[in-house]
């Protein structure tokens, strides 16, 4: 009783959570807010993970140098990252082995065997993506376990362990609102009530689905079973929201976006996404973000007359490659700006940059040929011993999942395997 009075979480809700793997956060939420572990840990700068997914590849000849190491010769795209030489590692000769075509999207961050995802109409053959897996370990102490944001791709980048795709929030104004806009007292009260009733609705969903399942065939019962995993996840999110609801949202000195930038305003849109990521980390609102960038359409850029999808399928036509380079050069510049800004964001020790592993990758190695070998994979920040350019065998690629294991270990996630890993990447 005593406990229930002092804390946002009742014991009933604790019991209800049952198997829910929120051990730490629940304890955390049950502490008085001023002594929360989050506050204590803020002093020692938490580790974060930012995954940036793109689905149209990067023109390889303009990206990859031939020389390995920190002394790589610069390339048309790497010149934009010159200021960050030594602070990132570009991998060549890395990929998910056997992947093929646009349909590789769902595997980019999960790394499952190709056979399990190559037919998108067969659902639930995917498994957990790197962001969701990391969030299981890093996501306990923040207002949001993790964020999945940015322009949605057809087959999703973020997946739960059961193979349910996690949709991406595409609205920047909505993300800003969730993270930073404070509610009035009345709004808070109704929010609290909404969260409570929300959980009982989910209970009802579960029990009704069980009854419903009795009239179904075995395949449908599997589908219902799968749905339960999503309901339980929704329940966890409600529990967390309840635990946080009375904690004021962090205030930031940033002009709240009034509307979402239009899809053809490349720099405005990507800058805003990057700013939101930086602010979310800086305020410790979350520690894991998957950001999807890109738009297949035609951006407003000087000299650009082709859409991104069109230009990426250039068929070696030089004019088209020039067009593609306009888009990709702009993206590298925006990314470089973002890296600079995270470096300039101070933390109790060092900068945000040093505590954030930033992985920028695409599921296509060569969009024009629809191949998935030699993926563009660039890792920066996160306190790795960056090597500039790590050159693996471009004929016999190194599994990208091995890098994922390395990243997880850097984040203190105790694991020695992920996806289709064969070992841990030791080069950084």
């Amino acid at each position: 009783m005593h406990l229930a009075l002092r804390t946002p979480l009742s014991r009933r809700s604790l019991l209800r959570a049952g198997a829910v793997s929120l051990a730490l956060p629940i304890l955390n939420a049950m502490l008085p807010r001023n002594a929360s572990a989050a506050a204590t840990e803020r002093l020692s700068a938490p580790k974060r993970l930012l995954l940036i997914g793109r689905n149209l590849g990067v023109h390889a000849p303009f990206l990859f140098p031939e020389t390995p190491g920190l002394d790589y010769e610069t390339t048309p795209y790497l010149q934009y990252l010159e200021a960050h030489r030594g602070d990132f590692t570009l991998f060549s000769g890395i990929s998910h082995l056997g992947y093929n075509d646009h349909k590789s999207e769902p595997g980019l961050f999960t790394g499952v065997a190709w056979d399990r995802i190559k037919d998108p109409i067969r659902e639930h053959h995917n498994t957990v993506s790197l962001d969701q897996f990391a969030a299981e370990h890093l996501g306990g102490q923040t207002r949001y376990r993790n964020l999945v944001i940015g322009s949605p791709v057809q087959w999703h980048f973020s997946w739960t362990e059961k193979g349910v795709p996690v949709p991406s929030e595409r609205s920047q104004t909505e993300v800003f609102k969730q993270l930073f806009l404070e509610r009035t007292h009345a709004e808070l009260q109704s929010e609290i009530q909404r969260l409570r009733s929300g959980r009982s609705i989910l209970d009802q969903v579960i029990s009704e689905s069980k009854t419903l399942a009795r009239t179904l065939g075995s395949e449908d019962r599997d589908r219902i079973e799968l749905m339960f995993s999503s309901v339980r996840e929704a329940e966890q999110a409600l529990l967390r929201a309840e635990a946080w609801v009375t904690t004021p949202k962090p205030s930031v000195t940033y002009r709240a976006p009034e509307k979402d930038p239009s899809h053809d305003s490349l720099s405005e849109r990507e800058n805003l996404w990057f700013d939101l990521c930086r602010l979310a980390f800086q305020t410790d609102s979350t520690r894991v973000i998957l950001l999807t960038l890109g738009d297949a359409g035609r951006a407003k850029l000087d000299g650009l007359s082709l859409g991104h999808h069109d230009a990426s399928h250039h068929g070696k036509d030089e004019k088209k490659i020039e067009q593609l380079a306009l888009i990709e050069a702009a993206e590298f510049q925006l990314f470089s700006r973002f890296l600079s800004q995270t470096k300039q964001t101070p933390e109790p020790s060092g900068s945000l940059f040093e505590h954030t592993a930033i992985l920028n990758a695409s599921n296509l190695g060569n969009a024009s040929a629809h191949t998935c070998e030699n993926l563009p994979v660039l890792l920066s920040g996160g306190g790795f011993a960056h090597k500039g350019h790590v050159l693996f065998d471009r004929k016999h690629n190194t599994p990208l999942s091995n890098l994922f294991v390395r990243i997880l270990q850097q984040l203190n996630v105790p694991t020695d395997r992920f996806g289709s890993s064969t070992s841990v990447l030791g080069d950084i």
Binding site: D101, P165, I201, T211, Q236, S368
Partner: protein
Amino acid sequence: MRLLVALPWIVLVSTPFASATLPPMAQDFLESFCIDCHDKASHKAGLDLESLPFTPEQKHNAQRWEALFDRVHSGQMPPKKSDQPDPEARKRLLQLLGSRLSGASLERAQSQGRVPIRRLTRAEYEHTLHDLLHIRTPVRHLFPEDASTAGFDKVAEGLSLSATHFAKYQEAAELALREAVPSAAYAPLKISDDAATIFKRRAEEFKAWRCYVKDDAFVLPSNLFYPYTAVLLPQAPRSGRYRIRVTARALHSEGRPLPLVLSIHNGLSFKPDAPEVSSWHDIPADAPRTITSECVLAAKEQFHVYGWTLPQRDTVRDRQKRDNLAPEDWTGPSLAISRIECEGPLTETGAVESWPPSSYRVLFDTLPLRKLSELPPSGSADSPAPGEPLDPSGKKASAKTDPLVPYSANPEADAERLLRRFVPVAFRGPVAESTLAPYLEAVRSALAAGTPFHEAMIAVYKSVLCSPHLLFLKESPGALDGFAIASRLSYFLWNSPPDEALLLAAASGALGTPGERHRQVERLLQDPKSRRFEQAFLSQWLDLQRIDATAPDAKLYPEFDRSLQESALAETQLFFRELLEGNRSVLECVQSDWTFLNERLARHYGLPPVDGFELRKTSLPAGGPRGGLLTQASILKVTADGAKTSPILRGKWVCERILGVVPPPPPEDVPKIEPDIRGATTIRQQLARHRDSPACASCHALIDPPGFALENFDVIGGWREYYRASQPTGATLEVTLPSRKAQVHRGPSVEPGYWMADGRPFADVQAYKQLLLSDSDALARAFASKLLTFATGAPVQFADREEIESIVAGLREERFGVRSLIHRIIETRAFLHK
């Protein structure tokens, strides 16, 4: 040990296949013609017939054998260069394999259902909330976009359910309930403005815009038409259907009609440059015309009345000259509006809704609404007469501080009564006591805990609107019961839940008879809600949802404007409606001697002039390229980007959507060839390079013909003999704009014509259409497959093929009528079984 090793070898000798359950004849065939490439060692295209068992009762195994069946059936396999089976052997294999696969497919459908359990799409969920609660609040935007599988968002396999969905159902339900139960009284919108009143609503602006009142008419001059001279009506007090009536005539228009546009604006996001056009109306010059339109407005949205700028009709362009004129002396085209009436929200029958609105009565019947501050403390026995009428004008409370809430003197009894009434409708069928019990219990315990009646009820309604009974289409394996058929019919033809009449037909067992189903299909199609079907089906089948995806390059296509896009979209919608209402032939999707045109489209197509902006059915001159869907501007626009066309994209689009041909993906063991189009200057040369590579050629032989047939149409659907270039080429083309001529750079000339996959040549799009029409069954089959997929939520399966064939055969007798096809679809085993 020795024995164990030897055993597989023995088996291998007697039959090389893991598919030992295949009849010997089939095994012989595979051994003679397939095994060389598809054995364990080579397993070309990933197919190893030595190891692949024949267990088609398993879905994934069946898919492999079905793919094999299709390759042999189409003649793709065995490859042309290898030994060919004699036709009789091929036929026998296909019969044998086909009947086994079909049997297995059917058996799977019978044990599991051919459609996996599926949730409503976000559009269906929105319509469901709207129809249940009699509201119009948009909620679909809250949800992530539903994936499109096999061309439609209704296909169960693609409809995933994430944690986000469960959060959003609650949000949407709350939003809907908040709209349904008014927290303050409102006055319905009811205005009838004469010219002077219209002017007074925005007197300052209208004066500045040189509008004036003369002869009982409010005059909008066209030289300053939209966006300046918009007449804005008051905001809608709540979401619902509203009626607007405008009486106007055209002035100084040389006897021709002028367009008047009714659109809707949301006060929060006023976008003067991109109005959402709702409807166009031709205002005649000779006498005033009264136009009436009904539209759904969300709360605070408002009607917006204006004339579309018609630069070609603006006779005076000199601003100075105009400014020296008194407004009344301007002699350019103008709209003279004599009256605007507007009322709503309306009930189903078209009357203005009374207080309290029907959305409230659905949830709380005749219980009174009371101010929160005036409620007796919980548990008190102070009870007003039930159903006590409320005077809306007497309730000017602030909705925030002191909202109106439903009041009950007998909370527990009322709660039970209301839930027993509402839940079966929400769950689209009878509800077992055990299903209802938890809802009753939830209210009871909330009331017992001191929760006020209105809060307890809203909470329980919210959980009803988030229930799996509502979110899922409940179908058990086997023949569907009447209620499941009712839901299938209504979500097919309305994209919304069944209404009372349909549920009654289900309850009486009538839906079990073909006669009643026929009657219901007719009734559903005649109901305005069938627009939701047209909208949902067309936006996906023909990709019309992408009409806005690309903006044509203004330098290359200076003649493009918003009115063209709106007209093009309307043409396709009206065309489809005519197919449906007139039971016209599916084949008219490829070629028709009529279409719907207005002034703007007729000019765009280079057809004889049509006066006015309302689209009307028009006969097309014989022998021209237009007619059918493929050559409509909307289709030509969605299959191009804003700057250029691609025969590959258009070809693939036509294959998948009209011809029902889905080119198989390139085999995975063929090394990827990076396309190299350098040095190829024309698209024809670029594609020739595709054709020269055997790996590319097999699919491009299918994809390219329709693409080239449409090569004479530019990105906005105009006819072209030359491409347009973004850089100077030394030559120019003249483009006719409404009020002037413009020049664009002329590129290379278009080479019309190509040849079909089987080698038959065609000279132009007309000839291509004739070749398509020579296989009318294929066109009907493709369209029937699309409809069956949309109607059932599962793509066509092996066992469905036979049914599709018999539909097509029957339909031939009915001259391929689209409406007849719908009747046939709903009588299939696929439609009437899970």
